[in-house]
Structure formats: C-alpha cells, structure tokens
Symmetry: D3
Subunit: 253 residues, 6 copies
C-alpha cells in the first residue's frame, strides 16, 4: 500500500504557526529540527547556506515529521519559486516585494493556470504529496510576501489587493535599515512597532495572514499574542552559536 | 508535539517482506522507490553507488514512507555496520559470512552490550526513532548474514548456532560463481536450487529467517511461495536500464 | 595523442532524434541512460533535480557515449544558458518562450558575437570538444525554444522569424493547461492535436525543426511518423517508478 | 578568545594586487592556491565550475590565508551578488556591465542602505569577519564592473559617474570578440590596446581603480607597470593543463 | 609571501584544553564553532555524520581560527588514521583501544618511520602546515586512545607502556555500558567515577595526558578541576537540539 | 546502437605507459587531465582527496578519453578494492604490500572465482565496459602491488611468486623513509637506486611488470629508458602548485 504525505491545512485556526529556520544544509541538523516540535520549517535560500540540491534533501528529510515545508527563495525569480515548489515546498516566502506588480508576479509564479503561470512538472511534489498534487496544489500552496522596505510599506494597500497572496511576512532587519535603524530583529522602537502593527492589521483587514521573523521566543510569544498567524524563532545556526558560547562561558565562568 | 518513527516489527507474520534495492544515490530516485509500495528498502553500500553521506540522506528520505530501512554493508567491518545503524538502519545485510566466527563478529558489531559490542552514539537513529532508541535497539535491529560461498554452505550449521543472527540472505550470483556457474540471479540449475532450498530449510529449522535476492518478480513470487521471509526484486538502476531499453525497442520496433 | 569529442551533426537527416531525459542527478543513472541507445540525452534543470554541479558531472558522464548532450534550462536567463553551454551542452531547450523578443534574447544568449552575445569562457566545452570549439560553436549549438502557452502559439509566426533558432519544442503539459485541459503528455484531444500539428508544420515551413515531449514510445513513434525531428520518451525517474510498480504488481498479482 | 578575520584594505597603495583564479571547485586546489602567495583569489561563478555550495567552501578554505576573497558572479543579478557577499566575498566582479544603469543596479546590490539595497543577513560574512561586519561592510566591499562590450566602452564616462563603483575590470576575450577579433587574453592589437588603455586612464581620472585579466605573468607584469591596480594571472585549471602538457612533452621530447 | 599555519603546541601547560565537537558536516556550522572560542575542535567520523570529503572541508574551514584540529576516526584502521592526518588533523582520537597491541598499532599508524609506519603523502597537511610538515609531524601529532571497555580498563597499565601514545580519552557512554549501566555522559555513579579517576591518575603517573568527554559545561569544569588535560563539551547537533527545544518551551510556556 | 568502452590491453608492448595522477576530486580537473595525452590516469584514494563518490564521477569523466582507468586504494582492504573495480577501474594499485600473503590477499580481492574471491556486482563496470565484462574481467584487471618497505624488499621473491599479480609499483618516498632517508621522489642515492633496480629486474625475471612513481618528466624518462613498464609523473595538485608559484615568481621577478 503506497504511502503519501498529502498537503495539509497550513494555518492554525485560532492559533499561531511556530516556524523554525534552516540555515545549515545538513541531513542531521534538519532532522534534529524536524523532530523538535515546530509547526513549520523553512529552508532559507536567501541568507541561509542551502542551495537547490541541499534544499531537495532537506525537504525530504523534514518530510518525515508533521511540519509544513517552506522555502524562502532568494529573489522574486520564477526559477527559484518553481524549483522550490516542485521540490515539495508548501509555503514560499519571497523577499523584497515592494509593489503590487511584484506581488502579482510572485503569485503568478506560485500557482498553476488559470490562476497563475507555474509550469507543470512537480518532480518531487507529486511523489511526496500524491498523485492528486496537480489538482490540489493551488489550494494548498501559500505565497508569502516579505514586506521590508519603505516602498513596500507605502504600497501596502495595493499589495494586499493582489489575488492569491496568502500572507505578508515582516523582515525586521531590512525594514529597520530602510527606516534608518541598524539591522536587527525583535525591535522595540515605537516607529518600527507602529509600522509592524500596521502591516499586520492591514493584512488582517483584507483577510490576509501576517507573519513575523523573531530572534527570541519571548518576542515571538508577544507576536503571537498580538495576533500574528506565524512567527519564526532563531535558526539552527543561531542555536549552535548561542549554545557554544553559553557552554564556554559556563565552563570558564 | 514532537514526532518520531519508532522501529516497528520488521518481519511479516505469515507473509513475505518485499524488499526494494537502492543502487542510485539520489533523493528523487529514493523517494520514488519509497512511495512505490515496498515493505523494505535496502541502500547497497557493497555493489551500489551510495557512500556514507548519500546513505544518510537516503535513509532520511525513505523515512518518509512506511518501509523498513536496511543497508547492505560492503564488508564485515565494524565501521560500516556501526555507521549504518547509527544512521538509522534497522536491517543490516552483511556479505561474505563464511564461518561461525564471521557471523559472531557481525552480530557483535550490530548489538549493544551485553549482547554485543556496538559503540553507543546513535546520531540519527535516536533522532529518527525516538529517545527510547538505545533501550529498544537490540530488540529491533536485524543482523542478516549473506551466504554466498562454498565455505559458508559447509559451515551452515555452525553459523546458524550464532546467537542473535536474525536471518540468512542468499546472494545467488556469488553462490553460483563459487559452485562453478556463471554469476546471475534467478537460478534454475538443480544443484543450486538444492543448495538454496537447504539454506532456507536449515535456517527455518533453527528459527532463523531466510531471504532471497531476485531479479524478476516471478522468481521472487516463487521464493515467497517456497517460504522465504524476505525477497528482493531488481533495483532502481535495473528499472532504468530495462525501462530505457524497452522504450527504445518499442519506439524502433 | 590527445583525444577530443568534437561536436557532431545534431539532427538525423531523414530521421528522428530519440531523446532521453535525465531527472536523476547521479553518475550511475546517467551512464545507464547513456549506454542504452538514445541519440541525445537532456539534463533537465527545470523540472528535474540536477543543479549546476550535477549537470557538469552528468554531461561528462554521458560524454562517454555517442549521444548529443542537451540541457533544459529552467528559464530564459543568460546565466543558466551560458553555464549549460560552457559545461558542454550542444542543445539548449528553453521553456516559456512566448514572444519573438523572448526567442531573440534566448538565441542571443546561445551564440557568440557577432550573431549573439554569449560571453567567452567555455571551461569544459573547450576541453571536451577541442581547441576548435570557440570557432565552431555557433555552427553546432542548437537553441531550442519551448512553445507551451497561448501567447506563444499566437506569436508563432513572429517567433519563427528569429534568426538562429534551431527548433521549437512542444511541452504538452503546459500547452494543455494553457488551453484549459489537465496537464499531461501524449494528448489525444483534437483541439490540442491541431495546435501541435500547426506548430510542427509552421516550423517546417520556415526551415525550423520541431520536437515533441512524449511519455510513451508509442506516442513518440507516432510523432516521428508525423515528421517531428526529435521526440523525447519518458525519463529515468519515470522508468524507476513504472518498473517498481510493475514489479510489485507482478509479485502480488 | 574568539578569533576573526576582519576585512582589511583591499588595494595595495602604490602597488598592484595580484589575483589568482579558481575554476576548480575543490578544497585541495583552493588551499594550494591560497598558500601560493596571491594577494587575492577569485571564485569564478561565471565561467568556472563552482556553484553556490562549493563557493562557500572555497571562501572558507582561502580564509585560512591572507588573501582578499573575491567572487565573479555570473550575471548582474541580485541573488548571486547577495549570496556571494553573505558568503564572505569582499570583492565582487560583475560581468557585462554596459550602461550606467547596469552599474548602478550592481552597486545597489552590493551595498547596504542607505547607499544601496542589499538585504541584511550576512550568514558567513559576520561569522568570518566579526560582529562589526554589518557596520563595516559598505566601507570594505568592492563592486568591480567588467567592461567587455562595445556598448560598455561607449558608455564609459556615464558608468564612471556611478557612485560606489570601486573598479573597472577588463575582460579581454569578450572585449576582443565585440570588436571583431577572436577571443583570447594578452592582446597585442593596437586597436584593442588603445581601448584597454583608455578604460584604465578614464577610470583613474575619476578615482576609480582598473583591473586586467591576463593569461601570462609577463603580460600581467606589463599591466602592473602600466598602472593597473589589480591583475589576474591564469587559473588553477590552466595550471593543470599547462603542467600536464609540459610534463608529457618533456617526457616524450 | 606565502602563509602557513604550522602545527603549534597542542596542550595547555597548567590548564585544560576545551574541545568542541562537530557532528554536523556543514561549512557554516563548522565556522560558527571555529569562531566560538574553543581551544580544539574534533570532527567525529565515528558517531558524527561527516565522511572523508566533508572532514577535509571542515578541517580547512576550522583552519581559519586558532583551534587545534582533531578527528575521531571510526575504528583503529590505518586507512582512516592516515587520511585524517594527511587531511591536516593534529590530534587523532581512536575508539575501542582495548589492549597494548591495539594501542601500538594505533600509534604505528600515526607516526612516520622510524617511530611508526605512516605512509608519506600529507596532501593537505603539508599545504596547511608548511613545507616543514614532514619533519615536524611526529613531534606534533597526538595519538589519543579511547578507553571505554572492561578489557581496556584491565589492560590499562600495559596500554600506558606503549611508546608514543599522547593521551587517553574516556568515553563515558561505552564505559558505562561495559559496566552494566545505561549509556550516558556526565556519570555520577561511584563505581564509574572511581574507574574514571583511576584512568586519569594512571595516565598521569606515566606522563600521559587524560581527556574526558562531557555533555555539560558544569561536568567539564569539574573534569578540569580534577586535572583532566582536555575536556569535550556537547556537540553542534546537541546545541541545535537543546536550543530548539528551549525556544519552543519558552514560546509555549 | 549502444556504445561501450570495453577494457583494452593495458600495457604498451615495447614501450612505457605514462600515467597521470588525480589528487583533486573535480570534474573539470579530471577532464583536463584526461584530454592531456596520458596513457593512464590514477585516482588516488590513499594520499589524494577523492573518496568513493568522487572516484565514481572521476572514472566516468576520464572514461571519455582513451586512458586506462586506475585507482590507488588506501589499503589492502577488500572493500576499497571491490568498490574501485565495480566502479570501472582496470588497474588497482595497492599500497604497503609486504609479504606474499599480503599480495595473495590483494590478488584474491581483485579476481573473480575461481582465481579469486571478488564478489559479483560490477555496477558501473558492466555499464561502462559492456555486458561481457563479467567474463572478461579477470583477463583485463591489473593488480599492482606497491613495494615500499624493508619487509617488502626482503620478501620480494616470495611476493613475485604470487599467481595473478600484474606488476610491482615502487613508491620512492616510503621506500626511502624505510631505509633512513627523507621521503621524496626521484632518488639519486646509490643505495636506493640499487634497490629500485633490483625490484625492477626481479619482477621482469618473473614476467611481472614494474612501475615507478616520479615527480619530474626527466626522472620518468630515465625510468622508461631503464625499462620500467609504467611511470607516473607529478599530479594535478602539483601542477597547480608549481604553476602558481612559477607565475608569481615570473610576475615579481
């Protein structure tokens, strides 16, 4: 009896998806993360160190656990989006969406006709998610647009009108840089908090989800209380760095 | 809620395990095989083309489907056996077991003390199979010895006395070579059929399982009817070769 | 005495090139395919699972056999086209050519000045095809444009006017989606058959070759009889899937 | 006490940077090159055979020696530029810059806001170059534009007005092709020498550095005497080819 | 001026070497560890997931920081020992040394003649550590034998007589298993503490160093206070697991 | 019409095989070497940096050129020998053969029954060399034993009595170390020259070939004149090192 892992509901009704972040392209680190209890895991092709080949292996590895498979593509480029989806990603996070046209092109790359222009050939997605993948894909794939520049904030209303967009994803580092602050996550500046809140409430007003990239679980828990639909906490590489430094400090201290 | 894939019963009570064979070390070929309906899949480190790194990725990939993960190690060498088990293999097929001492060393490498001398450090096995892995391993790991030389056939009774051996596995190519026949599977020569039957019945008489490597499903079905507990059919590389040649013949024919 | 594999005539005069498809990025699967009797083999960077590094290894591997080396790039992007050609591809299949401008940019990426704007640096191509590669490349490289959308069909005449285009390649899945049919190959719908025939005859009328992507050898043989200059049959991944399922059905049946 | 390799001054005051070229994506070849005495080393993603994953390993490998890490990206595409910089490259050579707009987009991809639009996430760069990387990056990163077409030469003055450009880099092969000469390095034709000299002097007049790609050390030494700020000599792959052929000729001669 | 990283004194006079553990075979995780402040780092080929190729890349990566490069080989097998040393390891940890003969064979594999029988060909070691590597190797290479079975403890005195052994390394998990306790690190059972202390004091009495594998920094600090010359704390994979679980607990808690 | 590269005569009647050496595990370096004019190429698994996976790719890559494929295994271990042969090697160089028993075990691993005990499963060898591989293998495979220790020289006569040995291969570095000289190739010391000559003449007296590892083409030409049947010159890694240093010296000089 063949076995498949059909794509499931991605969002938590009445709750917040807790997303882990894979910057390390190894089987063992990915499986450790996949078994740790995250709701979703994102392979980061933008600022992480996976490439196509390791992304494919990581998506297969995390396919062993009940986590929603996501990929952050490095750019709004149909090649990356298509290959991430064909490799089995359910959520696609796209950086630097600044205009409604950017968003529309992004969605178009994510969805099959007639809603979009994704080319057909789901090499791993069909194998992993079953023969019904082609018919079900448009209902399950989640195009998630990063809002992280001044222009994006200015164009927020227009972006939110784009048919097929599933969620906005706030990248606090670039958003801060764009507004003259040093890049970092877990912001506390009122000006940035106001913008972040505005992105969330504007999205929700249009029935679009909102996601927040966080460094600490405390900040993420605050985001969840504020109503974000997905929060990301740290990354595998950050856990190594923090763990090693804490161990050495404890040893020497 | 973390998720695990604890090791399950390996053998089919009253039936025959159908085992697929991975000679191609790629994610997509492994996942295609994993979703095809096999009961078990074997990564072949002896005559296949995987090495340690690809074996690890293949075991994670097939971990997505309900197939028992197996590895054929290249030699009765504790390094290979230990690393295959630490990577999550449940069954280990070891070639060229010729004496009771060979078999005892093989079993010793597969089991933790006090039954054996396997070193502790199940890097992926614990992550994949859960925190109870260490305590459960000896009950679930299956040491499977290949019988494929004259000396092995002569020493059959002694080999079958070795505590902890789960099964014998017949490699018809080498067994045939050893007896003066050209190497191939799916034998029909009475002399070889007699030896093969003797290995199976001797094993069963001692409560040890018996396995048969086959090329064709027809031969494998015959093996199952004869009472083999596990049969292997073909390999991914052979399916490509046969498929390509059949397609070209059909096109040109 | 050094040895080289200069690029040879690509098309079969009065016959049809039979093309195999590599979706599995492994040495052994590629060599099995290379020895199976295909006239050409295509490394698929769009919907297959090779990336740049494995493409390079696959092109070297299939360079052992007398098959024309081809690459399907994932997009009409000069990076992919340039790197595929520098790696030794003779034919380049480019998806989603929709306008004459698309086709002209594609050809421009394939050819050296003055016919095009390909940058010089044929790292493996010169080594594999000999020191004369630079001078001979424009005469031997085959830019092959995929026609797979409504817009492409509408712009067919303009596309066929583009200087330097070698062939059109029909992708039946996307072509069907674009016309409201479910994606699949080996179409039988009169509306699609008419479009497919029109693409072929329009191309031939302009002295451009026509190619058809097929699933089955039967359909491919029909394509050859219809006058297609190249037909593709199945893929390595499909041969594994079909072979495994057939073996299991035969075993259980 | 943690250790870092902060980015250092890139140019040699009053001297010429001697740059080696990595076309072979292996650890041992990169380390051999890194220990050989070059001032800088360039991983070539355009016409070399590294991809993202091997580039990351090569940059870490050459990080052991006091060489400035550089990457030639395959195209003026923000994905490649961002990932090369995040992986720790200090110099980025971008091919086919033809207009001021090309150059401005290239610089914009290299620099963080407010000077540019590089997205923040220096995954290896921060680890390799220290926690001060983010603040120091714009002062140390070197955007280097290749001038290698007729259009580029015509637009030279406009290109040199682009704020933030560090240097021009002359690619003699493509520059020659563009002007009707066969592609090769180490040119001697007066027409090309005049263009090459003009690019250098125009750059210097604007306070921009000039770099020359060379095959032989003799030609490179001439370039240095002429005032070029950086010269490249040969490549690892060329050293193998020349070394093997010389050894065989010496043996047989 | 070429640059090298000659092998330096390995041990801390009057202090304790703090050793990190690499189970994840990726460039980024290795570099994060290398910059974290460890005195030494060990690539684990026994229970980690690196193989030869990734070991080579990891040794080059950590060569950027002032950490002593170590490898734990999977078995007392000259192939693994030779290849780890040729790849640049200074310390070699060998598991399952049970007799003086085991220890003598291990040392023999580590040292060049006349002290040992290591074959000459330090492919990366000479490049990384300089042309003087061959002459200096025997003075700097550290053969470190794991003591982790009953037999090893019984043979302790004989093992300590072996000329050239640099240190004993206690593997608490296997040592515990061998004595009937469940495998784990950071033991508190008096019987095991006594054995561990005896190994340390016996080694010191013979001028041999003693090393302890630990899970927590607290236990490692205790080991250092007790006089161990090297302590290992955790591993990169464990830091990910602990970090992810702590973050999720903090989020949900 | 399928294509194969059947194994050909390995030795040059009346001449000397000139062998190149692959220490760099990359496709491009291997193909550059394969096209350079060597008679044979050796993938070095002992002191080079290839592992099983890269060896497989290198053997496929050099299979494009008319060079005899060879592998130096790291040890006299049936796993390495079997996997090198199954991957398509025709010649196998085995280090550290010291006794007739070593040599007999080595030959036994190389040959199929009844001459030896090689296990059947030539995964790439059959694909590369044709369906007749199994029957032809014993006639074409060349077991080549390295003579590089005092014990080996003392046991020379006994070693040369071993049935099936094709050649002796002199490793001058280890041979020199064993006799109290610093390790290096291209020896001039009378004591070593006498030993080297004795190995060659003793082999020839028994109808066994003799091979010499050299650094320079001059020394190799001398070896050929002396009657060696195969000489190795340098390596790809050495060509890079020499080429880079010569280029930098020429630039600065």
């Amino acid at each position: 009896m063949p076995h498949e892992t059909p794509m499931r509901p991605f969002w938590k009704e009445g709750g917040c998806v807790v997303n882990g972040w894979l910057a390390v392209p190894s089987i063992i680190s990915a499986e450790v993360m996949a078994r740790a209890g995250w709701d979703a895991l994102t392979v980061d092709l933008q600022h992480g160190t996976a490439d196509y080949g390791s992304m494919l292996a990581l998506l297969a590895t995390i396919g062993q656990a009940p986590v929603s498979p996501m990929v952050r593509v490095p750019w709004n480029d149909p090649t990356h989006i298509m290959r991430a989806l064909d490799a089995g990603a359910q959520g696609v996070i796209c950086p630097m969406i600044e205009t409604a046209d950017d968003a529309a092109r992004f969605v178009r790359s994510c969805l099959y006709p007639p809603q979009g222009a994704r080319s057909f050939g789901p090499i791993r997605a069909r194998v992993a998610h079953g023969d019904g993948y082609g018919a079900a894909a448009n209902a399950h794939v989640q195009p998630i647009a990063m809002i992280e520049t001044r222009e994006a904030v200015e164009n927020l209303d227009a972006i939110l009108e784009v048919e097929g967009l599933a969620a906005l994803y706030i990248g606090p580092s670039d958003l801060a840089s764009a507004h003259g602050f040093p890049p970092a996550m877990d912001r506390t500046e009122p000006e940035l908090l106001e913008i972040i809140a505005r992105i969330r409430t504007s999205a929700h007003a249009k029935g679009i989800r909102a996601c927040l990239h966080c460094a600490s679980p405390t900040h993420a828990a605050g985001g969840a209380r504020d109503g974000f639909d997905l929060v990301t906490i740290g990354s595998d590489a950050r856990f190594i760095e923090a763990g090693a430094k804490a161990a050495l400090a404890a040893f020497h201290g």
